[in-house]
């Protein structure tokens, strides 16, 4: 261990050892799900006996999870698709134009973060109820867009700020029309922000729980809500198999994020 710490740690041996303990603490709950999901017992027990993929196979036939999974993917896709134009417009508007009360607008746009999620859920339950939207899947997507939109605005804003506006002037003085300038100069420059924002929006929507719990009905139930219901019932290893799917998606998303824009980008947005 001390050898490992020295090899990894370099200048900060104690700090490194401490961080490694934290790493285990952070990763253990996700990793343990994997281990358990390959057991074949009816209940969760340690260590799992008879490694098998029984529980994974059973998932495909279980309508209890298939429909919520489809719902979750649809909701997350809708949420991402909706947030891209809104994020780009808001980020450009705030950072490029002279907006009066700009600071106030920025604080207003942080409202989804300052209102506690359970309160947001209740608010949207009442509002959507009055509008007759409860029970519509797109309304769930809209709700998740509302509560997570600051992530998209931040992410695109950082790209807007890193972009040199004189490039637009250059394009226009070379004869490009405004829309052409936007399509072939501005938009490509904002792409890293849009990609990292979209990944965040998609993953957060796929995992969102409290607001979904409050506003979904049986027909629009998303996967985290279904898993929650199952956990409260009995904690069969089948839940571990569904949850593992989530962990796999998370790992894939991180690898994709790293390849496309680099993980560092996410640290600054």
């Amino acid at each position: 261990m001390s050898d490992l710490v020295r090899r990894f740690g370099g200048d900060h041996p104690y700090l490194t050892a401490f961080a490694l303990v934290e790493l285990v603490f952070l990763a253990l709950p996700s990793l343990i799900i994997f281990v358990v999901s390959f057991g074949s017992d009816q209940i969760i027990s340690f260590p799992p006996t008879d490694p098998s993929i029984t529980w994974y196979a059973s998932l495909l036939q279980d309508p209890e999870y298939v429909q919520p999974f489809v719902n979750s993917v649809l909701v997350a896709t809708f949420c991402t698709a909706l947030s891209i134009p809104i994020g780009v417009m808001t980020a450009l508007g705030l950072n490029r134009y002279d907006i009066r009360f700009e600071h106030g607008v920025q604080i207003y746009l942080l409202l989804p973060f300052t209102v506690p999620l359970v309160v947001s859920g209740f608010i949207l339950l009442i509002l959507f109820g009055r509008l007759g939207w409860i029970g519509d899947l797109w309304a769930v997507g809209l709700a998740l867009t509302i509560i997570n939109i600051p992530f998209m605005i931040w992410s695109v804003s950082s790209s807007v700020n890193a972009f040199d506006p004189t490039l637009e002037d250059a394009a226009q003085s070379l004869g490009a029309e405004e829309i052409q300038t936007f399509r072939y100069v501005t938009l490509p420059a904002l792409m890293p922000g849009i990609i990292s924002g979209s990944l965040l929006m998609f993953m957060l929507a796929l995992n969102e729980f409290v607001v979904s719990l409050i506003i979904t009905t049986t027909a629009t139930e998303t996967l985290p809500v279904a898993i929650y219901g199952a956990i409260r019932g009995n904690i069969s290893p089948q839940i571990a198999a569904v949850s593992s799917v989530y962990v796999i998606i998370a790992v894939v998303a991180i690898v994709v994020a790293d390849r496309l824009v680099g993980l560092d980008r996410f640290l600054h947005s």
């Binding site: 961080a19 996700s30 607008v105 942080l110 608010i123 509002l127 931040w154 399509r183 949850s243």
Partner: protein, 318 residues
Amino acid sequence: MSFREEFHQGRTRVKWRAMDAIIDAKERLPFGSFGGSDRFGYVLISVGVGLVSFLAVGMLLLLWYSFLTFDTIEIFVYEYTLANWVRLGETTAFHTVFSRTLLYSAAVTVGSVGLAIPYAYLVVRTDRTLFRYVLLFGLFVPFFTGVIIRAYGWLIILGKTGLVNWLLASVGVGTVKFIGTPMAMVLGLLQYLLPFAVLMLTPAIASIDPDLERAAKNCGANQWETFRHVVLPLARPGITAATIVTFTLSMANYSIPDLLGGTNSFVANFIYDKIFGTLNYPFAAVLCTVLVIVASVFVFTIFKVYGTGTLGAEVDDR
């Protein structure tokens, strides 16, 4: 000309025609030029502002609901009353839950920010690519795995037939009940909040000039002194932001107290129960209003005392 070239040319032609059509359509719009006028900026932000207005309007709606009369059949009737607010003062169960939420949130905020500082520091400063990658991975896997999945992971670790009890049994200790204890809840909350705290801290630590640390060391400071007198003070904007984010997230948490905390429920569980258990919307509206007020007072106090931290830097135009 080969087929491929021809196809490519055709596609380009279609693309440019479409672009021409769009430009044509735009020119008929009443705005005139897009780029020049600041009025267009307001058009751009209006959709985002409108989206967030759902919550602003909803807050006003909640305030209004809190003065309506609860009715067991109709849920509420449109008669104004102060009864719900009076009930707030009389409901001692809520006082217990509320002070528990505040206490635990304060504790796990201190804990997770404290744990996040060394982690964030290493993420920024380590020069070993692999180690850095492993740290980032450890950070983003939980961040991208929902809170329900992670709470379930803790159920497996701490459950009666779980990992810890299996390890305890192998050294001859009997089964210990962890689920439903404050300890399980604190562990769950810490693991939930730690990634957020690290993410809020890294920009602040990244902006510290490494030369300052070298200078401190040259002046004879050891590693701990450098950390204490150079890194910590300069990381304060990040610490402020991390404190605000973790505290508000913890205050409003529903799933961890519900799944790991047993009877140690939080305000969110109490509110949920009022919404779906007794369908008492007016009283739930009172509780929501109180939660929002307390959370806002906390955030504004921190802002006043310590500045806006990196939260402010992020919304400031640079």
